[in-house]
């Protein structure tokens, strides 16, 4: 990694030599290294079935790696007693919105705060302040079934943001939305990210989405994943969807497609 001079504290996430598989002979990750500096937006571009969800579970502490070390924030979280601490540090946004249908927008948004012991009143106040920014002003007392798909995803994102974690993991959050809404949500996410600059690991299989949003795109093309190809996206910010037609964007996209294509061939030893 070209930022090797940075100390470990400046990284939101460092993964070293991660090995994991559901069975010993069929590994999903084989010595994977990954480092994300604080405040960076990283997209992980991978075809389906490569073990994205498993990676999330490893990062949120629901699965224990066979070998390797996960550093989250400044903390080394390989010891089991720190597993809870690790969970608190990573805000996870699932693929489906997974809102509780029996809770209002506001009560859904504060779930993370509530579970970390913040008083209900304080948590609600905090969420209420953020609703307008998330395009949800006036919806605090609505139930999820009254919202559109895009709005539900924004509630889900707000819920992950409010968890108080230093880093967000977004698992294909827009894949279930139709094309127009997805573009709206991508532009909206760019706006919100501009304001908060949270560290984000965004998993997707949409090449345009990855390049549009991220500072850096990591491509996992072959299974088991032992290394990630890196594409640095030096497109200027703030960005809007218009840039997908720019020459630079298309060049980056071509490179990403090449990397994905190369991976589909059998790995040379």
């Amino acid at each position: 990694m070209n930022k090797a001079k940075q100390t470990i504290e400046q990284y939101a996430l460092v993964v070293e030599g991660l090995v994991y598989g559901f069975t010993e002979d069929k590994l999903l990750f084989d010595g994977l290294d990954l480092a994300i500096p604080t405040g960076e937006f990283v997209a992980l571009l991978a075809p389906s079935g490569i073990g994205k969800t498993t990676l999330f579970r490893l990062l949120t502490g629901q699965l224990q790696p066979i070998a390797g070390v996960l550093h989250i924030g400044a903390e080394e979280a390989e010891k089991t007693e720190k597993a809870i601490g690790r969970s608190m540090r990573i805000g996870y946004m699932p693929q489906r919105d997974s809102l509780m249908p029996w809770r209002t927008v506001l009560d859904n948004a504060v779930l993370g705060l509530e579970l970390s012991g913040v008083s209900k009143h304080k948590a609600r106040q905090q969420a209420l302040e953020l609703l307008p920014q998330f395009g949800l002003a006036g919806t605090e007392n609505s139930y999820p079934h009254e919202l559109s798909g895009g709005m539900r995803q924004r509630v889900s994102f707000l819920r992950s943001m409010l968890g108080g974690s230093s880093m967000l993991l977004l698992d294909e959050p827009f894949s279930a939305l139709d094309a127009m809404v997805r573009i709206q949500m991508q532009e909206w996410l760019l706006q919100v990210w501009e304001q908060h600059r949270k560290t984000i690991l965004f998993i997707t299989h949409d090449i345009d989405e990855a390049i549009l949003l991220a500072d850096r795109v990591l491509v996992a093309a072959s299974s088991p994943v032992s290394m990630l190809h890196e594409i640095v996206i030096d497109l200027p910010r703030p960005r809007s969807y218009d840039i997908v037609l720019d020459r630079e964007f298309i060049a980056l996209k071509r490179r990403a497609m090449e990397l994905l294509g190369r991976g589909s061939l059998p790995r040379e030893s």
Partner: protein
């Protein structure tokens, strides 16, 4: 990119203002609160008109056939005679009605407690799932009617023998539906909560339990309708009062009108209990949609 496409892609702030008005509009159309009350009633009557007409038709056919054909009154009494008997014996019937209703409600409440408890045990403890669940399922192959006399032997001719038969009838639907509800809890929400550091208690109170609410009420509604059957059977086996006892005695005396009066009242009681549970369900759920 042309300008109209750009406008369509504009995000965030632009639709922020529209959101609340859009929601309010949806709520308004959902509830139709703007309609005056008498129009709502008229609307309901119109919607239920086919049902009402059908019931009226059945009543006319009943009355007509029993008048035209030489059917003895102890086989099928005339509807008019049944209604007459209902009015004449209203005070006595009311007393029996309350007794049977009381047995049904107490039985239901015991089933709710026992059933929910069993469901919780089975869902949360592996060993209970391996032992208790198969036994509860298998127990349903026992014909409850055959078991009911034992309840009379155990609990005598007082209230509790009837209540115990009601519990036998209603325990199963409540338990099985509540288990189904606990299992239907969205695993993605559970995983999300765990990633947020939720404790076992959090998972139960904030995820499992609310998820089970709709299934629980499905079970309770089924139980409410069959509870009356349980109470009636209990009274047949041995009782001094109640509508079940009333119909049995009337049947022994070949009083067709009285039997039909009792049956009508029992079914009315079942409907009443069902509607009550439905009302409680609506109050509990409020505006939420599961």
């Amino acid at each position: 990119m042309n300008s109209s496409a750009k406008a369509a892609l504009k995000v965030g702030r632009d639709d922020t203002q529209d959101v609340s008005s859009e929601i309010n509009a949806r709520k308004a159309t959902d509830k139709q609160t703007h309609k005056p009350v008498h129009k709502q009633i008229r609307h309901k009557l119109l919607a239920n008109f086919p049902l009402l007409a059908f019931i009226l038709l059945l009543a006319i056919v009943w009355e007509g056939l029993t008048r035209l054909l030489p059917i003895p009154h102890y086989i099928i009494p005339r509807l008019s005679a049944v209604l007459q008997s209902l009015v004449e014996h209203a005070p006595v019937l009311a007393k029996h009605f309350v007794i049977t209703l009381n047995e049904s409600i107490i039985g239901l409440m015991i089933s709710v407690l026992l059933g929910s408890l069993c469901a919780l045990l089975i869902d949360s403890i592996k060993i209970a799932q391996r032992t208790l669940y198969p036994v509860i399922i298998a127990s349903q192959t026992i014909p409850i009617i055959a078991l009911s006399p034992i309840m009379v032997m155990w609990f005598g001719y007082e209230l509790w023998s009837k209540v115990s038969v009601v519990v036998l009838f209603t325990f199963f639907p409540i338990t099985v539906n509540t288990i189904a509800g606990l299992r239907a809890a969205d695993p993605d929400i559970g995983e999300l909560m765990r990633s947020m550091g939720a404790s076992k208690g959090d998972l139960f109170w904030k995820w499992k339990l609310p998820s089970a609410v709709p299934h629980f009420f499905t079970g309770l509604k089924m139980a409410a309708t069959i509870s009356v059957g349980g109470a009636t059977l209990g009274e047949w086996l041995g009782s001094e009062a109640g509508l079940g006892m009333y119909t049995k005695r009337a049947s022994n005396l070949l009083q067709g009108e009285a039997v039909f009066t009792g049956v009508l009242l029992l079914s009315a009681m079942g409907i009443m209990l069902f509607l009550t549970v439905q009302l409680i369900e609506r109050i509990v759920k409020g505006e939420r949609r599961y």
